[in-house]
Structures are given as structure tokens and as C-alpha cells.
């Protein structure tokens, strides 16, 4: 299976290396149940490889230089590091138990890892894998977000319902903001003036002002015919120059589109079942979202805000990462 995948990938890579395309990109999807990463060619939307990982791969992200792909394998208590040229696991980071989400600083030097099972944020040097600090936060940390100026890192604790703010220099907590139940993900705006936090069980998205650490806006969701408990915001991704933020809503099978200036929901896009995390395409025209229960990935056109296609991936897909170019290129 893998060998065939690899052969296909090699063949594809050779062809593409000869004629690189303008918007060539590669999409990686973590499959929680299969313990694999599906590698999709952004032009053909065909699977070009399937990479076996440690157990329960969930959080997935690229290094700032796109040379390495980091995969948090919760049941393996490890982070697999995949070389994006060869699509092989080249090393592993001893993340501490049950890593779920992580973020890397803009310089690509430090990785911040949420250890769900021991209420810690592990701060690690990316190149050496050396643990610099373990910061005690609330119970069940999950979302991690380094501020664009690399001074602060937000960590959400799902069970404690807080966003904890870590000083990247001192590794001390500087603020703890109580948000609605089960905060899953945190995202900073590029100017660092807003911190967005999704609360899955609370069913809201909070916008926090980092000068006061007060919640300035809270966005609620409502879809006629759906019960409120189905509207569970999980992932969040800014798109269209941050004019919009895409919020997959789990059991409602929809992705909410929020106008970031007005702090209002402008659309709900029907996708596959239980979408949790997504990622925009490199050129920003598309949004890819992993549908956990239907084992596929929906492609949303960001100009029309319509779902245009779904492609099959592995079982229980969880996270998406998008890389410019092709593997091996």
C-alpha cells in the first residue's frame, strides 16, 4: 500500500519536477484512527502518498521554512517530524505525554506543545529537541498560539476553560482569561491586537484584547433547525487577508464564516460530518477542512463561499497542513 503510494508519488514528483506549476501545493491530513498522514497533490486533489505515523496523529503543522512537518501523536506520546522532501519520519520530539496541538515561533526555533494529560505546556528547542521549560497551566491544555511578534504564547485549557498567556522570554504566565467551556483553539491576528479563542462546549468564539486581557467580543452561532449543542466551534483559520475567519462547527457539519471586523457570522457552509480543523490554500483562494466522521476533506471556494469538492482521506481525519510546492521539489 505504502509502497504503491510511494511509487505513485515518485512518478508524480518526477513529472512535476519537470514542469512546476504556478500554485503547486501539497496538502497533509492527519488521520487519527488510521495512524497515518494522507498526502494530497493540490493540483489533482489525488492522494500521492500515505505516511505511517506514531499512534493517534492529530495536531499537524509545518515549520516556517516548510522543510519539516510536525505531527503530534497523542497515543504515542511523541511528535513525529517528517521531512517534506522525502516524506519520511526523520526524527521524533519527546514532547511529554499526550501531545495534541502545538505552535512554532515565527523564527522556527522554539516549539510550544500542549500536553493534554499532564496540564503542562512543554517549551522545546526545535533543532535539538531539548526541553527548555514545562509551564503548568490549567487542566487539559490544547490550543497553542505564538503571537506574531514572538513575545507571548496563548495556551487554552479545555477542562479549566481558560486561555493562559505565557511570556516567551521568562516562560512565566502573565495572564489567565476565563472563557466559555472547553476552549479548543487560539489564534492571534497578524497585528497581535486580537486573540481569538473557540469554546467547543460553550458554543462561542471569544475575542480577547491583549492590552487588558478582557473579552471584547463574543460570537454565538445559530442555524435554523439545528440544536444549539450541535454548534461546537473547534478550529479557526483567518482567510482573505484576515477579513474572515473560518470556524468548523463539529457535529453541525458546517463551517461558520465570521466577518472579523463586524464580529458577526456571515455564512454557514455545509461540509462533511464533524469538521474540526482546516487550513487555507497557499494562494488563499480555497479552504480545506477535514471531516472526522465521513473520512474526507471538503474544499471550499473562498470567493463564492461554497463547498466545491470532497476528497477521500483516511479514517477520522483531524488536522490539515498546506505546503507550497511538491515533495521532493
Amino acid at each position: 500500500m505504502t509502497r504503491i503510494g510511494l511509487a505513485t508519488f515518485c512518478a508524480t514528483a518526477l513529472v512535476l519536477a519537470a514542469a512546476p506549476l504556478a500554485h503547486a501545493e501539497t496538502i497533509f491530513v492527519s488521520n487519527e484512527k488510521d495512524n497515518t498522514i494522507t498526502v494530497i497533490d493540490g493540483d489533482t486533489m489525488e492522494t500521492i502518498d500515505t505516511i505511517e505515523t506514531s499512534r493517534r496523529p492529530r495536531g499537524i503543522m509545518l515549520s516556517p521554512d516548510n522543510k519539516e512537518l510536525f505531527v503530534a501523536a497523542g497515543d504515542g506520546d511523541i511528535i513525529d517530524v517528517i521531512d517534506t522532501k522525502t516524506l519520511k519520519i526523520t526524527r521524533q520530539l519527546e514532547s511529554g505525554p499526550d501531545p495534541e496541538l502545538m505552535d512554532i515561533d515565527p523564527e522556527g526555533k522554539i516549539i510550544y506543545i500542549a500536553n493534554e494529560d499532564d496540564s503542562m505546556v512543554t517549551i522545546m528547542e526545535l533543532a535539538s529537541g531539548e526541553v527548555l521549560s514545562e509551564v503548568p497551566v490549567g487542566v487539559e491544555p490544547e490550543g497553542m498560539a505564538v503571537s506574531p511578534d514572538n513575545t507571548l504564547t496563548a495556551a487554552t485549557s479545555e477542562s479549566t476553560s481558560m486561555a493562559h498567556i505565557i511570556d516567551n522570554e521568562t516562560h512565566q504566565l502573565v495572564a489567565n482569561v476565563l472563557v466559555d467551556s472547553r476552549p479548543r483553539e487560539a489564534k492571534w491576528t497578524k497585528d497581535g491586537k486580537e486573540l481569538w479563542v473557540s469554546s467547543e462546549i460553550g458554543g462561542t468564539v471569544s475575542v480577547i484584547d491583549p492590552t487588558t486581557w478582557e473579552i471584547t467580543d463574543k460570537i454565538h452561532f445559530e442555524v435554523p433547525g439545528l440544536r444549539p449543542e450541535q454548534l461546537q466551534p473547534v478550529g479557526m483559520d483567518f482567510v482573505k487577508d484576515e477579513s474572515l475567519i473560518m470556524v468548523p462547527l463539529g457535529p453541525s457539519n458546517r463551517v461558520a464564516v465570521i466577518d472579523t471586523a463586524k464580529k458577526e457570522v456571515v455564512d454557514y457552509i455545509l461540509v462533511g460530518q464533524r469538521p474540526w480543523h482546516g487550513e487555507p490554500s497557499v494562494d488563499g483562494t480555497k479552504y480545506y477542512v477535514a471531516n472526522g466522521l465521513t473520512n474526507d476533506m471538503t474544499i471550499i471556494d473562498l470567493d463564492t463561499l461554497k463547498a466545491v469538492k470532497s476528497v477521500p482521506v483516511g479514517r477520522l481525519p483531524w488536522g490539515v497542513a498546506v505546503m507550497p510546492g511538491k515533495p521532493g521539489a
Binding site: P136, S147, S159, T160, L173, N176, G203, P210, E229
Partner: protein, 460 residues
């Protein structure tokens, strides 16, 4: 470079394990020293619901992005940490219990557990303080468990006289009602984590009692929905006749009417319980169970109702017709099961053994959840007085996260916690979770389980 570690099962590193224990030990001292990180965090955290705490916090809220890079800020914060501790809002919760004689597990090999419930409360105390440390709250747990012949009412009076109003009640119905009916307990908030008796939610409901544990009506409905979904509507009941069994039977019959099932026969099992040790006794049981089930009318499942746990498991694989067993044994409807891992549930599965050296049981979960409801309501409402906490728990704002994939809340008409019910027990993976697809409700799907507002006989 870190060497490539083989992709094989392995334990978390000792480094992290040690850290966890250290953190727990520190946090267990509710009013004692805090972990350094948490101390520094002291009062800088503020949430939307902690308005009252603002004045207390004001001095400590000086960590802003503009000055946070200043290394001098850290010691400054530390100096204020001591003051911050004193300014903390403290919620004192009394775990009121009694060492009732409980039925022994049917299996002689199974460990007799004597610390059900309290271990869940202890875990939540750690977690509540871990969270509270960040936002200026402290939680205390007073363990008031009297012996079997002890006077639980006197113990309750003592706690009430000391001014305490928050209770986790690990009590049987009579004791629970006696405590709830004390005049001085009128403004108390009592969390029932033990009794499934439906009367406590119906005729005998009390305004100061909240029910965390599902009642027999919710359990029967949760199983019934699944059996109807499976198109197994004919139920053969085999039961004992304790008050709990009679209560459960009435709810099974009610569920049959609600969802289109039928109790084809209600069969009383009357062989005395006897010793648990089987030795060669399984041969007799094999014959007895065939006798118990051979005259039954045509049925799809055997519904065992055996709260004393002295024969129900014998039915499995020994019925005359090859039929599954559900009820108090076999497939059970429960708030927690040792096989449940969804929606972050593994955290609870791992945390209780660390503390109690055994897997969690349902009462550990309900005790954890009872204290969690109180601590969550305190932090989100910003207050620790019983009136505010109670009002918050009954408001639409109250949306509790507890590994069930949806927010838990209280039914205003009888104070029962609405919650999805796990169908498991005896299986290594859970079978399902109710409510089942297709059972509709205009407001809240979980209100298809148990007594809905129009059916409620509760009057506060």
C-alpha cells in the same frame, strides 16, 4: 538531535510523571504554597464573570504585553502573590457520606471498593484549585463520612452550624431527605451523587437538592431507546424485589409505554443469593439459569433488575434462548463506564487510578461532576455564596463540560442534571450513548431521557 525512537508502545517519561505528582501534591494543599508558575500568575487572570474580584485583583493586574518583556516585572508579581492568596474567594464544600453496607460484587475475584465517590471529589478538588489559582478562587473539601452506625444528620448539623452550605451528598434517600429538610439547610446547595431513586426527582424533590447521578427513569429510557433502535422491543424482565428493583421496574414499564417496547413477562428470581465463591458452583448455575428462562414468552432481550448484584451476571450466556442481557447487569445505562474514552474521557480514566489505585466507578464520576458543577458555577458567576451559585447553575449560562461531547446543565423543573447516558458495562468498548438518533425533543434531546417538564410531579 534526538535519536529516532521506535514507534512502539511506551510509557510517558519518568520526567513528566514526576512533575505531575509534584504538581498534584502542591495543589492538594488548597491554601498552602502554590507552584511557582501559578504563584506568579496569581491575580493577573480575569474573566468576564469575576467582576467582584476586580478590586482585589487590580493591584496585581500589571502584566501587559508592553511591559511583560521587562524581566523586572516577574519578581514584582511574585511579591504580590502573598497578598493575592489572602484575597482569594474560598468555597468550602462538605462531602457528606455514610459507610452503608453495600452489596458485594458478584465476582469473588473483583476488588471490594470502599472509597467510591470520595476519590472523584478529591480529584476535582485538585483540578478546581488548579483552575482557581489562576483567577483568585480557592476550594476546600471537608470529608465528613460517618460510620455505618454514625449519625449523619448530626454531622450535617455540625457543618451547617459552622456556616457551610455546599454539600456533596453520598447518601441514601432517607438520609438525604433528612439533611435537606433541616431548617438551617434551607439555603444550602446539596448535590446528590449517589441515589437513583426517582421519587427524589418527583414527589420527594427538594429545592435545595441537585441530582448529578441519573435516576432509574433516565437509565431505563436510555436502554429502551437503544433497544427500539435495534428493533428489539420485547423484554423479558428477571428481577429481585428490593425497593430499588421495584423503582427500576416501574421505569422500565414506563419506558416501554413511551418508546413502543413491551415487558412480555415480569419474572421474580427467588433463589437466595448465597456465597459468591463458585468453585464448581457454575455447574448448578448453568442449570438454574436455563430453568429461570425456559418458560418465558418470546422475547428479544432479558432485562435483569438486580440492584444487589447477586445473580444478574449469571444470566449472560446461560439463557434458554440465545438473548442478550441488559439492565443492572449486562448492557447497562450509566453516567460513567470503565470502557468510555470519548470526548477527552481518557483523562478521567487515567486520573482516578493515579489517585485511587483502581479504575473509576460511576460514583467517582458523579462526585467529581458534583464538585465540578459547584466550582464552575462559582468561577463563572464570580461568587461563592449559595444563592448566586444556585441561580447560576439553573441559568442558561451554565454549560458544563464533562467528557460527554456536549454541555451538561440542570433541568429547572426537578434539578436533575441532563446528560447523555453511556451504554456499556462488561464490554471492553462502549456499545453506544443515548439519546439515540431519531428520538426527538423540541428543546433538548437529552430531555428524552427521564422525566420531562410536562410529566414532572416535582413542586418546589
Amino acid at each position: 538531535m534526538v535519536p529516532l525512537r521506535s514507534i512502539l508502545p511506551h510509557m510517558p517519561s519518568a520526567r513528566s510523571g514526576g512533575f505531575v505528582i509534584a504538581a498534584f501534591l502542591l495543589l492538594a494543599l488548597a491554601v498552602g504554597p502554590l507552584p511557582v508558575g501559578a504563584q506568579d500568575a496569581g491575580g493577573t487572570g480575569k474573566g468576564p464573570g469575576t467582576e467582584d474580584a476586580k478590586a482585589d485583583d487590580a493591584k496585581a493586574v500589571d502584566a501587559k504585553p508592553s511591559d511583560k518583556a521587562d524581566a523586572a516585572a516577574a519578581p514584582a508579581n511574585k511579591a504580590k502573590a502573598g497578598k493575592q492568596d489572602a484575597a482569594k474567594k474560598t468555597m468550602h464544600v462538605v462531602y457528606l457520606g455514610k459507610e452503608y453496607e453495600e452489596p458485594l460484587p458478584l465476582s469473588y475475584a473483583e476488588k471490594v471498593i470502599t472509597d467510591k465517590g470520595i476519590q472523584g471529589a478529591r480529584l476535582m478538588l485538585q483540578e478546581a484549585n488548579q483552575a482557581g489559582n489562576f483567577v483568585g478562587f480557592a476550594f476546600e473539601l471537608e470529608e465528613a463520612i460517618v460510620p455505618e452506625d454514625g449519625d449523619v444528620l448530626a454531622r450535617a448539623k455540625e457543618a451547617l452550624a459552622a456556616g457551610h452550605r455546599f454539600f456533596i451528598a453520598d447518601l441514601e434517600p432517607d438520609d438525604l431527605l433528612a439533611v435537606a429538610d433541616l431548617p438551617e439547610a434551607k439555603d444550602a446547595v446539596i448535590m446528590n451523587i449517589r441515589s437513583s431513586a426517582t421519587k427524589l426527582r418527583q414527589e420527594e424533590c427538594r429545592q435545595n437538592v441537585f441530582h448529578i447521578i441519573p435516576d432509574y427513569a433516565m437509565r431505563a429510557d436510555a436502554l429502551a431507546q437503544y433497544l427500539i433502535w435495534k428493533q428489539w422491543p420485547k423484554w423479558y424482565v428477571v428481577r429481585r424485589d428490593t425497593p430499588e428493583d421495584q423503582d427500576y421496574l416501574a421505569q422500565v414499564q414506563r419506558a416501554a409505554k413511551r418508546f413502543g417496547g413491551k415487558v412480555v413477562e415480569d419474572h421474580l428470581y427467588d433463589l437466595p443469593p448465597g456465597a459468591r465463591n463458585l468453585d464448581s458452583g457454575h455447574q448448578q448455575i448453568q442449570q438454574q439459569m436455563a430453568l429461570e428462562t425456559q418458560r418465558s414468552p418470546d422475547h428479544d432481550v432479558v432485562w435483569a433488575i438486580n440492584s444487589d448484584d447477586d445473580f444478574g451476571d449469571y444470566l449472560m450466556y446461560r439463557t434458554t434462548m440465545p438473548r442478550p442481557v441488559v439492565g443492572t447487569q449486562g448492557l447497562q445505562a450509566t453516567a460513567w463506564d470503565k470502557s468510555y474514552t470519548e470526548s477527552g474521557g481518557m483523562r478521567f480514566q487515567r486520573a482516578i487510578p493515579r489517585l485511587a489505585n483502581r479504575p473509576p466507578v460511576e460514583r467517582d464520576y458523579t462526585a467529581w461532576l458534583g464538585l465540578r458543577a459547584l466550582s464552575d458555577a462559582a468561577q463563572k458567576s464570580g461568587a461563592v455564596d449559595p444563592k448566586t451559585v444556585k441561580d447560576y447553575m439553573l441559568s442558561d449560562e451554565f454549560r458544563l463540560e464533562a467528557f460527554k461531547g456536549q454541555a451538561l446543565s440542570f433541568r429547572t423543573w426537578d434539578h436533575q442534571m441532563r446528560q447523555p447516558i453511556i451504554l456499556g458495562g462488561g464490554t471492553r468498548v462502549p456499545v453506544s450513548t443515548s439519546p439515540q438518533d431519531g428520538f426527538l425533543h423540541p428543546k433538548n434531546l437529552t430531555d428524552t431521557l427521564g422525566f420531562d417538564e410536562p410529566e414532572s410531579k416535582c413542586k418546589f
